[in-house]
Amino acid sequence: MRELLGRIPIFGICLGHQILALALGGKTLKLKFGHRGANHPVRHPDGGQVCITAQNHGFAVENDLPDGTAVTEINLNDHTVEGLEHRVLRAMSVQYHPEAGPGPHEASHHFRRFRELVEDSAKVTIPAAEVEIVTSKRGGKEKVQAKVNATE
């Protein structure tokens, strides 16, 4: 994933969301109550419209992410992270299933969003993304941080 970051637009779904988060230097945690069902409300952390989504996951991304990575959606039941975005790296992800098979359709706009991302990328030459992954060990735990030197 780190190899690809910044080079091409990325859309992570479910496990893909968690992998993206890890690649960007985030962490995941095991949920006390996993999210299972086609009835989970998500929304932007600051408000806005609620979207009902299909979910099936027992882990979630910790809401403690390196700079540049924004939380785009949270689960309203337990306020865990449901969506991420890194504008510069043109990467986005959702923890749930916008492909809706089975499940409600209202999150399908992500595919449009991703398509736009792909189209925008095609218009401009891909900047030589310089993504530097810095790993450091503190207290026996590995800390990963993505340093982005990309030019806007």
Binding site: F33, H35, R36, G37, A38, N39, H40, P41, R43, G48, Q49, V50, I52, L76, N77, D78, A100, G101, P102, G103, P104, H105, E106
Partner: protein
Amino acid sequence: MPARGDLETILVLGSGPIVIGQACEFDYSGTQAVKALKSLGYRVVLVNSNPATIMTDPALGDATYIEPMTPTIVERIIEKERPEAILPTVGGQTALNLAVALSERGVLEKYNVELIGARIEAVHTAEDRQRFAAAMRDAGLPVCEGGFAHTVEEGEEILEKTGFPAILRPSFTLGGEGAAIAYNIEEFRDLLARGLDLSPTRQVLVERSVLGWKEFELEVMRDRADNAVVICSIENLDAMGVHTGDSITVAPAMTLTDREYQRMRDWAFAVIRAVGVETGGSNIQFAVHPQTGEMVVVEMNPRVSRSSALASKATGFPIAKIAALLAVGMTLDEIPNDITGETPASFEPTIDYVVVKIPRWDFAKFPRTGPWLDTSMKSVGEVMALGANFKEALQKALRSLDVGIAGLETAGGKIELEADRLIARLRTPTWDRIFHAREALMQGISVEEAARLTQIDPWFIEQIAQIVGCEQELSRYGVDSLPESLLRKAKSWGFSDLQIGRLIGTDEAKIRARREKLDVRPVFNQVDTCAAEFEAHTPYLYSTYATRCEANPTDRRKVLILGGGPIRIGQGIEFDDCCCQAAFALKELGIESILMNCNPETVSTDYDTADRLYFDPLTLEDVLNVVEVEKPEGVIVQFGGQTPLNLARRLEEAGVCILGTKPDAIDLAEDRERFGALINRLGIPQPENGMASSEDEALAIAERIGYPVLLRPSYVLGGRSMVIAHDPEQVTQYLRHAVKASEDRPVLIDRFLEDAVEIDVDAVCDGQRVIISGILQHVEHAGVHSGDSSAVLPPHTLTEVQIKTLKRYTRSLALAIGVHGLLNVQYAIKDREVYVLEANPRASRTVPFISKATGIAWANVAAKIMTGVSLLQQGVTREVTPDRKFVKEVVLPFNRFPEEDIILGPEMKSTGEVMGVADDLGEAFAKAELGAGRMLPEEGTVFASVNDRDKPGLIGVIKALHNLGFKVLATRGTAERLEEAGLPAEVVFKVNEGRPNVVDYIKNGSIQLVINTPLGRASRFDEVALRRAAKRHRIPTVTTIPGARALLDGIRAVRRGPLEVRCLQASQPAAN
């Protein structure tokens, strides 16, 4: 967005009297809305003409108006209370129509009142089918082919597009009233004319028939941030063509793929947005072609509906409460889900069980109406059951109906029908078709064939076939050989002990014993909205045969209250009101209240009425299961009507403590011989009577006590099959055709007290002290069922001495019977003698009415007595005689049963009641009439045709009407008598005398009031035609002289000037 701060006072509109299509689900929604708005600090004003509602409990709102729900009266309330907003979406079609009327009259503008929850524009788009169809077309959603007819000719043009069969739906009627299916042109013209007449806008939708398509409903909520969620999907077992209120329904939808369901969900959101319902709940109906999957939008209700009550109970999501919060500007993600306490309401409830609703009909009350179901709703109530699978939920719902069946079985033995008749029964929807489907499968008809004939999805038929298969397996065993695995399977498929007992030829108790021996026991699971994803804090439970019990009973002091089960004529919302009051009383005493009921329409089955709620059938088996797990100190059976009372003795035998009046005391009052002996001892007279087990015996008894006599079977209650016989021929008729008398089922014969005044006296008794809670004098004379008679509190023509006698008799009866709780005694006064007719040591229909009139919740007082708190300890020591006049008027369902005659008799037919309250009796009458939806003609022409007995009484009424300027028409006999009394009356022909006759006059709009008392059998046909025409043209018709006098008082009051309104809180004597 938090709740709006610019509103202070909100007016909530109720739904008025209980009628078919609009029952106590709107008390439930209204109550929730009032509580929700109060909790946000708003001042809540509410209006509802129905006193038998929890919503109108004066403790709930700030200003409660029990007043007619007419635009004029509500305008007076608005003028007085000056609300900034009106919430019209929790009071059914009545409230919505009222809001439209207020808007059209400019009242909203005049007083600067805003409609919240629904904009007038959205209401029009949803309700006016023409605009609805256009809105759907604009949104790209398909609807049925068709158009709108304003005349019969216009209808015939549309018919060319739709073909036969064609569906007719009048606009703006409630519960699909007047909706019908036409199969030929003659029928089409006839039905269309009736539909145009019923529609307040004289508009009828003529549509392509989607008969046989599968019918689904989605309950959708939307907030002002445009968040939309589906609360529940509901599938109708019966295909399109049967009104959803008359259909067996299932939640969640069982036969849709996810793809189909998600498309329906997308469409539902498109519909609610296209119609423009900005906040609140809506119910959207879809039809799906069973083979092609083609889907059309059928209709939407832009308000809380019967289906939303069902969806709320099915999921635990309180739609009405949330709708009220959304209406004042909150959004779904700001409102917590009460059940989990932590998660927000912006989610879609998950159902990890199956819910089945079955309607309850009262066809026996309407003998001229066939048992067929169509697009006009006929059921009077419903039950709901929850189970781990469809089979369990279906069978639990069937035994909840309280019609003598213990599951999917036929009451009173086998259906014996030849194959071709059975096939015909499968083709035609009737209330008992499901039993015929079972019979057909038993006779070897295949699932596919049964599905094809019934147009019920094969999946459901397959489930029924599985039940039939299990029945056959069970019947191979005896009680001691019944294997555990089979017993467990049968129980998990919803078979009751009684049903299994019948299949293997033993009784319920033996099956229970066998079950306990094999340790096959039910557990209780929670309705938690989230399929156990989160912790639930609200104990809302149902029984099932699973592994883990989630009941977690407390060790508090606790009492179980048994509810009333399905609403039926004679056992209505009044009993639910009493059950709720009992729960409130227990709460006040710090005793845990546990409610058990199976009716989804009620306030009692709201998860926050009692501390704990068990949604299960009210049968011995199910009640014992709850008692076993909860171990309450006692059970209250006297508030829920006959359903729980019938269990009292068997519960007591099973070792359960019955609180309050003991079963033996109830029996003392209900057993004729024991009661007869008791009143003899007390020196209270009753009409002469006897019991006959043969025709000869009956004739002899009738001869002895003298005609007319009142005949009734000994084994049914509530006035079923009761008649008045004036001569031996009528007695013979009754015994030969209506009720067969036998040794074990004798016929009861009473002397009928002609022209007697009937009185209800209610009291509470703690075993030491008796307090008379109220005396209600009936307007109609004896012979009209007490539930159908209008009545006055305090009594308007009784003497002091008579009132003293009534009180004395009631006190001695209460103490002698051993009443601990409520008592109702019915009396008749004839020639100054007071006779007791019956004593009911239990809650009766009169309790909520008297409670509202006196300002004391008597059921609450009685519940406290039952837990050992005496009247003295409660401080209830004085009798209250209100200084205002309270009139009860009833609402009859004859508009649903066009074939029926509107004459009142000893068999109860009314579905609901209203209260009229004023300082002056005439004004109270007028309000009661208006509340019941009857217009009071202030001028015009009165037509009179009465029997000889009523002619003297008529003269006074006509004289008064004449003095008020009414023109008088009468049939020859009546006119002659009026002329003799010096009153001018124009003679008109009866129907069989020539033309133009009285029906022509009615049709031409030349008659504004009809006074017609039954003349007897000879002219019966003639009269029925007259009354039917009057009904069709909505001409007020009175069929008794006392009724005419009351109406006259009402007309005088209306002519005197505007009717004054006053809220309960301002007019009640301080409770002591």
